[in-house]
Symmetry: C2
Subunit: 325 residues, 2 copies
Amino acid sequence: MDIRKLEAFCKVFELRSFSKAGQELFLSQPTISSHISHLEDELGVLLFDRLGKRTVPTQPADLLYRTAKELFQSLDDVQSEIHMLRDKVVGELQIGGSTIPANLILPRLISGFMRMHPGVTFSVDVSDTLEILKRVHNGDLSLGLVGSKPDLPGLASSLLMEDDMVVVASPALAKSLDGENGTPLESVLSLPWIMREKGSGTRKSLEDALDACGGLRNLNVVSHVGSTTAVIECVLAGVGVSATSQLAVQRYVESGDLVLLDVPELRKRRRFYLTYLSDRKLYPAMRAFLAYVENARETLPQQLMPGRKTSSGSASIRLVEANSA
Amino acid sequence: MDIRKLEAFCKVFELRSFSKAGQELFLSQPTISSHISHLEDELGVLLFDRLGKRTVPTQPADLLYRTAKELFQSLDDVQSEIHMLRDKVVGELQIGGSTIPANLILPRLISGFMRMHPGVTFSVDVSDTLEILKRVHNGDLSLGLVGSKPDLPGLASSLLMEDDMVVVASPALAKSLDGENGTPLESVLSLPWIMREKGSGTRKSLEDALDACGGLRNLNVVSHVGSTTAVIECVLAGVGVSATSQLAVQRYVESGDLVLLDVPELRKRRRFYLTYLSDRKLYPAMRAFLAYVENARETLPQQLMPGRKTSSGSASIRLVEANSA
DNA sequence: TAAAAATACTCCATAGGTATTTTAT
DNA sequence: ATAAAATACCTATGGAGTATTTTTA
């Protein structure tokens, strides 16, 4: 099924003539004959009834003609799309991220970027860090957003954003504590806790933090749940407290639906990285997105966490007071 | 944009390796290299970033890969569809008909045929006889149903069905006539008439009939309308009487909504013909449909016109009595 | 007889091969 | 040192041509 032969076939179909098709395609009539009969051999059917001087397409020819035309159309289309891709900020960017960046950082980046470049679309994959890195490495993804610095050869990475793991509670639960001057670690640990499942990065962070402050892991765990969303819903419902990404709960803290408990011992900084294949040829869409992210790193943190303007310095800001007043 | 080159490209895309692609396609690595660089030249973009030992597709490659896969899929599909066409009673039949056969005969034929052969679909074109014949002749249509015997060379034709032009009136209007022993021509002609537009085959038939019985054309025409449907609606509404195809009014006559006026002088037989290119290779679907029609010619007339069981002999059956009783 | 497609043949462009070099790990 | 792609060069299949024959309107 050669393209040239299909072209010849289409012309014959349209002109009902081998010789006229030859003229239009600047080919000789015997060449057209040969193309058609090759196609007929290959398909095992007659494509044209040769009725003396007239040439009439058969039923299979009808079918073949339609798909051949579609085929030429999509070949034309893909060529012009590729030229666009080369010259303009358009096309699809395939981005992968682990849970926090894919769910909480990317959407805001995409939203801002799409306002500037409406021709760019995104496909976002959420997966674990290792999978993301593998897929960036083999080119399935053009960009990865992950929670740890990758060390695969060929992968460049830069710091995208910092986030703190914080302890949250419903306002009702928080009130039962004396919110005076920071919350004592012991009273927080004795509260009912909602815990992430084994394997969760957030759980790992919490366990590290607990280990760091004396190896005590005897939390009063009342529930294990499998996602950040589920954790938040549980805390909102007053099931207990939990430690989770500040980015994830920021909205609720601002609206007063949740309050942060200031437990310096459990505050743990997490860093998110943007990673991509260095040495790769950059097309306009990708180049523009990288530039946008580079710029957003400076301006976005304020947007993303308005309550943290001064937080980068000391880790023990009295957020509880600010919101439970 | 050669198919073989696209195949090579897809394999490289999937395997991320020129040499592995070569192995799977039983081609040498340099051949793959050459194919890819030809495509890159043709498209004006890099398709793979050659990162030392690793090969990573670029953004345009992504786009090309998707359309190439679709393309191969539709090529596969069309091949198997063509094989089906060759071996089974499936596929689309393109049939054209002038108004009466396309609207009144074909639907019943199709309906019966599709019950036997659900794999066959139809595309029906309604047009004037000349256009239909032209398109059957050049192979656009596989079958034509027309109101006159074609004499184009290469076109075979066979009688499909006979139909009578009859005069119809609303029951109310009919009652005003003495329906005793046939309706006298003069009293019918003096009724208000609904006439088809110039160029209509039905109008031509009526004028011929009027000419034949004495050249009198001084009808009391109260309305000219452009379609059989409009004629029927006008008669139903009591605007006047009209002469039209018996096939078209049969339903209404049976239900009693219209009555036939027995005017032997205006009864005019019309013949409809089925036509197709002789010498054409017949595929199963077409062969089956022709056989079905051949058979239906014997059995269908009774279905189509139950009131005419004995009508083929004499032209002056007292249909008025039968329905206005 | 003329017009269209098929056949016979010739030629060369290019798909594809082998051998080798280059490049990066 | 090794593995992968690029380069150089060669071969031969088949795409395309010209000349001619066959077919049918």
